[in-house]
Structure formats: C-alpha cells, structure tokens
C-alpha cells in the first residue's frame, strides 16, 4: 500500500500496481502512468470521448462492501478486500478514476476483446501498407502486431470505397483505410470550429466525407492528418515523398507568430520533408496551423542568399566582414534588429549597437490573430528583444525615426539583421543615401541595395531560443545544415560586435551574466516545453495579441481577476 493520497488524488489499482492519480483521470492515462499500455484508436486526450473503437476495453471492479454496514468484505483466500469485478468489459477512455477503482488489462477476456477488435478493423481494411504513407507510424500496424492474432479468417469480399478524395487543398482521404474513429470530425468541430466533416451511409459502409459544397480548407486542416491513427488522411504535400522511418526528428518552434507553437521538423540528408506539431500543453496542446508547416520551403527557395557580396559582387567572407567593420568604425550607424531573430542573436545585436553607440530599432509586424494558434504579432520573438534589452518599448509601425535621421544626414550606415528596410518603411532614396550592411537569408530590395551582404541561416539551420507571447522561453534546434555560403548569424554578429562568444553555449554564458531575467539559466537546461520568464517588468506595454489557446492578454487577465 502506498501512503494515503492527497485530497485531490484517488488511488487506483491497475494490474496489481497501485497509483494515486487526480480524480477523473481516465483509465488509459492512469495505466500509462504505471507503464501499462492500453491500446486505443478513437481516444485523443484533447478531444471529446466517444468510445467508438472499442480497442481500450478493460475489466473494472470496485472493492466489495456490505450494503448495510458499509464494512469491507474480505476475501478469505487472499486476506484482502474482495473486489467485485464487472463481468462486462468497459472502455478505458470513459472509465474515470474513482477511489478504489481496480483495473485489469491482462486477462484472457481482454486479450480476446483486443484480438476481436483488431480482426474487425482489418477485415475491410485494404492492407496496402506497402504504398501507404502512414506505414511506420500507423496505429493499425503497431497494434495488430501488439494485440492482433496475426492471421485472418476473412475470405469474403472486402468493401469498396473511394480511394482518393481531395477533402481540401492540403488533405487527401482514402476511405478504405478509414477506421471511422471520428477523430478528424471531432477536431474540426471542437478545435478548428469548422464543422465540415461527417459520415454518410451507415454500418460498415459508413464513409467519411465533407459536407456537400464545402471543403476542409481551414488553416488547421493538417492536424486531422496528424491525429488520423491510420493512413486515411494524408498530407498532399508529404504524400509519397518519403518513408517516415528514414526521417530524423528535430524539435523546433513555429516562427509565424508570437504563439510559438512547438514543432518537430522531419528531415533526411539535409532536406526537410514535413513539420508537425509537438505536444506542449501550455502552448499549443497537440496542434499547429497549416501555414507554419510550409515554412520549411523557404530553406530551398530560389531567392535564398548563398553568396557573400561586397558592392554587388561576390566576395570572401573575410573581405565582407572587413568592409563592414570599416563602415561601422566610421560612425553614424543605426542597427535594425529583428523580432524574428533568436534571443541570442538579439543579445549580440544589442551588444553591437551598444559598442557602436548606435540607436537600435525593431520592425513591427502586426496582422490578424485567429484566436487559436496564430496571434496578431507576426514576430516570433518581440519579447526576446525586450528581455535582452535590445528595445525598451514595442516597435513602431514603420521606421519613421530612422528615416528622419537618414534624411537629416545623421545616419550614414545601417546594419540590418534580416529585415527588408524597404518593406519596413524606408524609401529607395533613403536606402541609396546610406551604406547598408545586410545579414539575411533571402534576397530582397535591401539586399539588392546593400554594400555588404552576408547570407545567414534560417531557423531550421541553427539553434537558439524565442520568447513567445506568454513570456515562455522556448528553444529550437538545428535540423539541417545551412547552404554552402551561409554563415551562422551568431558568428557574424559576434565578429561585428567584437564579442568573443560565437556559439550558443558561450553566448549563454554572457546572457546569464548580463541579462538578469536569464541569470540562473543555461541553454542546455531549458526544458523542451519551455520556461516561463517573469513578465512583470513589461506589464505596462501595449502588446497587440488577443486571446488565443492558453493565452489571455494581460488586460483581460486583470479584468477577470
């Protein structure tokens, strides 16, 4: 027996192992905690429970008590309290932990139940694993291996259903593979709030489809592919491109807005094949937007900068850095940092500006939020710039002050860390008036006008951290190497700022020493789910984000408190 549980905990017994779990935890999750696998298909921790796959059947029982006296009834054979087992198996997903609940998952009846459900799921399944994209990450494959009989008794004709239905621009449906778990339907209805999916027909001929005249085209449609336990829903983008078991998984962060959805980047031999969400119950649960999954395409874009240039001609990196250093040494410099840069890069950008006694600017990028996982602030890391002290207030809409300085001749050189100054509000005439040192990944009007262009890395090609709208410090890792000709932003900034630290670990030593909010941290110790920083120093700032999943604007929090 374990110690009496805390008030909000209840003790349950799973296959003889006792564990205290929060009241209401379902049997699948409770079993997971003691290392007991309860297989399932339709259950998803972030969706409503429908209990339709019947794979998670378990036996449950409660300790026997005398109905009159409420005294425990003891089993003389074991000397312990007798358990009244319910003969009929129950679904684990809808069985919630209550005090004294006993669960058995390893009895002959449960083995038979699982074998039965596995057999039923496979009788009308096409078994086209050799050409199925889900192969390797398919619950049907895994659980038929783990819980099936391994042979078939089915000699009848299989049902025939549509094999290629384009549900929307990004999602393809194979109805023959569908096991009708309804996860995608529930996701569309409950999370995406776009109730376009449903079943038609009935019985074994039930078919998943879109409502007539509608498409599954919302910006979260690819989550249905993620949660499809089989190969019924596949991504049009990823389909037939690569076997999943060849892919390397790298933890990353979605950079399309300040939500900072946690992601996994799937790559092989330096090429990225897909991006999927990574579970973080404090940020994005298990979801991410479709738009964030396409960002990897920037890596191989035609406009990618892969050559260091000096006055428009290719030049060695050393020569470019020398030319840049000379420009900076001449004074009258302004630095334009970026809300897309990592915390580490912003920190070095700040050091660069400080060393030059140059004003530092940031480019604001405000759009519409969707109240789910895209916020109004399209910069992933404005708060990083605040924490590191690169800026003290939120950036203005346009670089009007910088433009005025240039017009007045007070600024002669501008260092831009990845920002297109033309988009940020400078005119062509203003750009022509100054010498621009451009560190960036893609060609644009600023790189075309720059004296010095140093190609740098995308978020997929380097490590670092971002601070999201919740002031959660989250790290991302390098998934693929950068192209030949590109240099790590940190190395370039360190060189220009004359700082010795050129890699993540050494920059973090400086960060911990110089930024009080990060005083006790090191890069290695940041958990995969991030670390909440103290937001109170910035509480008065007018952040643009509205309410979204796991986030409430400070004003709203204050109003409801």
């Amino acid at each position: 027996m374990i110690a009496p549980p805390k008030p909000d905990l209840v003790t349950v017994n799973i296959d003889g192992k006792e564990i205290a779990v929060p009241k209401g935890t379902n049997a699948i999750e409770a079993a997971r905690l003691v290392g007991v696998d309860v297989p399932y298909y339709c259950y998803h921790p972030k969706l409503t429970i429908v209990g339709n796959c019947r794979m998670c059947l378990i036996e449950i029982g409660m300790p026997a008590v005398d109905p009159a006296t409420k005294a425990p009834i003891m089993d003389p054979a074991t000397g312990k309290q007798k358990i009244n087992w319910i003969p009929r198996p129950q679904i684990g997903c809808a069985t919630n932990a209550s005090p004294g609940l006993h669960i058995r998952t390893q009895t002959p009846q449960i083995k038979d139940c699982r074998e039965g459900v596995m057999e039923f799921l496979l009788v009308n399944h096409p078994l086209d694993c050799p050409i199925c994209d889900q192969a390797g990450e398919c619950k049907l494959q895994e659980q038929s291996t783990g819980y099936g009989r391994g042979y078939s008794r089915y000699i009848e004709q299989k049902n025939v259903k549509p094999k290629r239905t384009q549900l929307g621009p990004r999602v393809m449906l194979d109805d023959e593979r569908c096991i009708l778990c309804s996860r995608c339907i529930r996701f569309s209805k409950e999370i995406a709030k776009d109730d376009v999916l449903g079943f038609i027909d009935r019985g074994s001929y039930s078919t998943l489809t879109c409502y007539p005249g509608k498409k599954l085209e919302n910006n979260y449609s690819l989550n249905t592919v993620d949660i499809c336990p089989v190969g019924a829903l596949t991504s049009t983008d990823f389909r037939f491109k690569m076997r999943v078991w060849f892919l390397k998984q790298t933890n990353s962060i979605d950079t399309e807005s300040s939500v900072g959805a946690n992601t996994v980047v799937w790559s092989r031999e330096g090429q990225i094949y897909r991006i999927t969400p990574r579970q973080n119950d404090g940020v994005n649960d298990t979801w991410m937007a479709d738009s964030g999954r396409e960002l990897y395409k920037q890596v191989k874009a035609d406009t990618r900068l892969v050559s260091t240039t000096l006055d428009g001609r290719a030049a060695p990196l050393d020569a470019a850095l020398k030319a840049a250093a000379d420009l900076l040494a001449a004074g009258s410099v302004a630095v334009v940092g970026s809300g897309r840069s990592s915390v580490e890069e912003q920190f070095l950008t700040k050091k660069l500006a400080a060393a030059l006694k140059a004003p530092a600017y940031l480019v604001s990028r405000v759009g519409e939020g969707d109240q789910l996982l895209i916020s109004a602030d399209k910069n992933p890391n404005i708060r990083g710039a605040l924490v590191t002290g690169l800026i003290a207030t939120l950036p203005a809409a346009k670089l009007a002050e910088l433009a005025a300085h240039i017009d007045a001749g007070r600024i002669k050189t501008v260092v831009s860390v990845g920002e297109d100054l033309a988009v940020a509000g400078l005119t062509a005439a203003q750009l022509a008036k100054v010498a621009v040192v451009y560190l960036g990944t893609h060609a644009n009007a600023t790189s075309a006008a720059a004296r010095v262009v140093i190609p740098t890395l995308t978020v997929f090609e380097k490590g670092g951290t971002f601070v999201n709208q919740q002031f959660r410090l989250q790290k991302f890792a390098k998934a693929v190497p950068g192209p030949a000709g590109a240099t790590d932003d940190l190395a370039v900034l360190a060189k220009l700022a004359k700082v010795a630290a050129t890699d993540l670990a050494s920059v973090w030593t400086l960060l911990a020493a110089e930024v009080p909010a990060l005083g006790t941290m090191s890069f290695a110790n940041i958990p995969d789910t991030g670390l909440l920083l103290d937001a109170t120093p910035f509480a008065g700032l007018p952040f643009v984000e509205g309410e979204s999943l796991h986030y409430q604007p400070a004003a709203k929090v204050a109003a409801t408190a």
Binding site: I49, V50, G51, N52, C53, R54, M55, L57, R88, P89, I91, A94, D112, C113, G116, V117, E119, F120, L121, V123, N124, R153, Y154, I155, E156, Q157, N159, I179, L180, G198, F199, D201, R202, G203, S204, Y205, S206
Partner: protein, 450 residues
C-alpha cells in the same frame, strides 16, 4: 385445458365494433377521466403507484418503469423531458402501431399522466419513419386533445401544462435505442451514446434529464392510475405484472396480436390454441419469442430451471410461460413481444441469412465490433446460401458473434449476435448439413475459396 382468455386492458376498446380513434369516441368511453384523476394526485403519489404496480418496460429490455422514473435527476434545475419511443422497429413486433392507429388518445392520456407525475413540460413522440399514417393520426389526436384542453398550457383548469410534439424518424432501426433516439431527436446521426456518462435520466435530450418510455408502457400508466398500483400488480405473475401484447407472426394458422396477463399463457397455448397451431401438414421447428434479436428456441429442446425452494423443474418450449423472467431463464427474452414462428419448411441457414442481412443493414456503424461484425456475419451467411458453404462456417459465425456481444456501445451488439449465436448453437447440425449439401452440389472444377 383450454388456453386462458385474453385480458384486454390496453386493447379494451380497440377493435370493438363502432370504436374509432376520434376524441369524442374516446371520451365517450371514459377517456381522459384518469388524467382528471391524476391531476388531483400528488406527482410523487403517482410515481409511487407505478413503482407498486411493478410495471416493466414493454419496449424490449423489461426495465421496471417506476425504477426508471426514480433515477431521474430532479435536482439539476434543468427541464425534464419525456420521450415516447414509438420507433417500433424490431422485426416481428407490431403492437405500438396498432395502439397509435386505433387508440391514439389512450397513449396521449398516458403521456399526460406520466408528464404530470414527472413534472415534464415537453414530451416528444418519436415515431418510426415508416409509419406516416400513425404520425398523421397522432398529430390530429394531439390537436383535438389540445383543443379540448387535455394537452397544452393550463390543462383542465390547472396551472400545469405540457406540450406533445410528434417527431418522425427517417427509417433507422437504431433510432429505437434510447440514446440513439435522443441524438436523432436533437437532429444528429442516431449514434447511441456511451453510458456512462450519458444516462438519459441524467444527461438525456439536450443534456437534460429525460425519460424514454415505450408506447405500450405509457398506456399502462393510465390503467395503473385507474386501478391503483397494488391492484395492477395482482394482474399477471409476481415480478411480471400486468398484461402485455404478444404479436405472433410466421407459420401459424391465425397470426395476430393478443393481450394476455404476463406469464398466464404458455408458448404452447399461444401457438397451438390461440393461433390455431401449425399450417396443415407442418410441424413447429423454431420460435423467436421476443423480436428477431431474441435468441431462438428449438422445439424439442428442454430447459431445467431452479425453483425458489431449491427444487428444479423441466420445461419444454411449449411449457414456457410468456413472461419476462422465465424466458430469460431459458436463455432468451420476452423482448418486445414479437413471437416469430418457423415450421419445418424453414431452412435455418437461410433464416439466419435473412436476419443477418437486416442487422448488417441497420448497424449504425459507430463502434467497431457491431459495424464490422454484423456485415461479416451477413457476408458469411449470404455466401453460404448463394455460393459455397464450408463445414467450419457455423463455428466462424459463432466466433464472430462472440466478438461482438457485450463489447459495443449499445445493445445492438447483442441484438445482432444473439440470433447467430443461438441459431448456430441450436441448429449446428443444419449448418453442417447445409455445407455438406452444398459441397456435393458444387460444380466440377470449381475452386475452393480457401
């Protein structure tokens, strides 16, 4: 010994010369007097009478009506709904339709009494899609009753009111399952809900406490108010009280519906005397006693049952009283009262193929065992009948059925597997013989499928 006479309570007037389904005719025969009486009683007192009556649900499961009413969450502050299950879809059952067609006001009176007893302000009659005529009759009857102040706001000069709405199904057997019915009533696919947590008494229609009763059950409530729970309980046999309507179809000389005290007539009396026995030159072979989902009984088999005093008695099929408990003890059920009789002209494999086709067609498709298993069983029996039959098919059928029963969201799992389980268990020789006969009939050179 001649068969006992019918005890017509529900059918007291139905079928009598000159009796129509008009309000005037109903009132002339004492109609709505029990509603007048009930409205002067305390609701709790009515519930007490229903509990004392021992009335068991006539829809199929035989759950005690008073207990069901007692489970309703009355403290939630939410409205309580009464839903009348008129989706009579079980093959072999045709009693509720008769009531609704020929005596709709009896049902409406039963509904209004039950509504008053349970503080229900809105009641829904969910009527099977294939009964448009019944729906029209009910609509008219409700309109007439409303005009006469028996239904609607402030009935009979009181402050109490209850509206009754008729909702037509679209033709799906599963809509007779109470939570499937509720989903359908809410405008969704009739996917039965998981229980727990969605017990209708707590989280039913629109997530409010809901009572779902069969048509015949609610009609009995009127008569319980009339005679009192204790007197009602004297009808029938202990724990199997009242009367019930038995619908006999199939191979008998005089099929039809008959109202008897529960357990006061045996299967043999019903089939041989009331229904005139088998067709000329035929003998009874099998009977399904409670709608097609009930387990089949084979004439000639015997059942040894325990008596209360510890002794045992042996019954033949003909000896079984038509009640809830004895039929259950014999491994089948009284179900919905649909007695389906098969004589020796019937091939049991073909009969099962017919039943399996029905259940495969009606499986809603929500949960795996029933969805895939019901169609698989249909495909097997279909193949046996139309293509080739294998000696092992009987056992395969049983095994598939065993993988369904008890593992599904709703009772459809049992409904579709019990026929197969019982047909194979009791007529296994026929399944084997069918395969042997098919084998010899197989054309030369045809390949085995396995």
């Amino acid at each position: 010994m001649p068969a006992p006479a019918q005890r017509r309570i529900i059918f007291k007037h139905i079928g009598a010369p000159g009796y129509t389904n008009d309000l005037a005719c109903y009132v002339q025969h004492g109609g709505y007097e029990m509603l007048r009486k009930a409205i002067t009683m305390q609701p709790a007192a009515i519930i007490d009478e229903v509990k004392k009556s021992g009335l068991r649900g006539r829809g199929g499961a035989g759950f005690p009506c008073g207990v069901k009413w007692g489970l309703v969450d009355r403290k939630s502050g939410k409205p309580i709904y009464l839903v009348v299950n008129a989706d009579e879809s079980e093959p072999g059952t045709f009693k509720d339709r008769y009531i609704m067609h020929d005596d709709p006001h009896q049902l409406i009176e039963g509904i209004m009494i039950s509504a008053w007893a349970n503080n229900v302000k809105q009641a829904y009659i969910y009527i099977r899609g294939e009964m448009p005529h019944g729906a029209r009759i009910l609509e008219k009857a409700i309109a007439d009753a409303r005009a006469a102040n028996f239904v609607g706001p402030k009935i009979l000069g009181t402050d109490y009111g209850c509206e009754i709405y008729v909702h037509r199904g679209a033709g799906a057997y599963i809509c007779g399952e109470e939570t499937g019915l509720i989903e359908s009533l809410e405008g969704k696919r009739p996917y039965p809900r998981i229980k727990p947590p969605y017990f209708p008494a707590v989280l039913g229609l629109y997530q409010c406490p809901t009572i779902v009763n069969n048509v015949e059950t609610l009609c009995h409530v009127k008569h319980i108010v009339e005679m009192g729970g204790d007197n009602y309980a004297k009808i029938g046999t202990p724990n199997n009280t009242g009367t019930r309507i038995l619908c006999v179809s199939g191979h008998v000389q005089k099929p039809g519906y008959f109202e008897y005290e529960v357990g006061k007539i045996t299967m043999g009396e019903l089939l041989n005397e009331v229904c005139g026995g088998p067709l000329p030159g035929r003998t009874f072979k099998a009977v399904i006693p409670g709608g097609s989902s009930a387990k089949v009984l084979r004439f000639g088999e015997t059942f040894t049952l325990k008596n209360k005093d510890g002794s045992s008695r042996t019954l033949t099929v003909e000896d079984i009283p038509m009640d809830f408990d004895t039929l259950a003890a014999c491994g089948t059920m009284g179900g919905s009262g649909g007695v389906i009789v098969m004589d020796d002209s019937v091939n049991m494999v073909e009969a099962l193929a017919n039943i399996n086709a029905f259940y495969a067609h009606e499986s809603c498709g929500q949960c795996t065992p029933c969805r895939e298993g019901s169609l698989w069983m249909k495909k097997i029996t279909n193949r046996m009948v139309h293509e080739n039959a294998r000696a092992e098919d009987g056992q395969l059928l049983k095994s598939v059925a065993d993988q369904i029963a008890g593992r599904t969201i709703c009772a459809f799992g049992e409904a579709c597997s019990w026929p197969t389980q019982s047909f194979v268990a009791k007529f296994g020789d026929e399944f084997k013989g069918y395969a042997d006969a098919k084998k010899t009939a197989k054309p030369a050179g045809a390949l085995d499928l396995v």
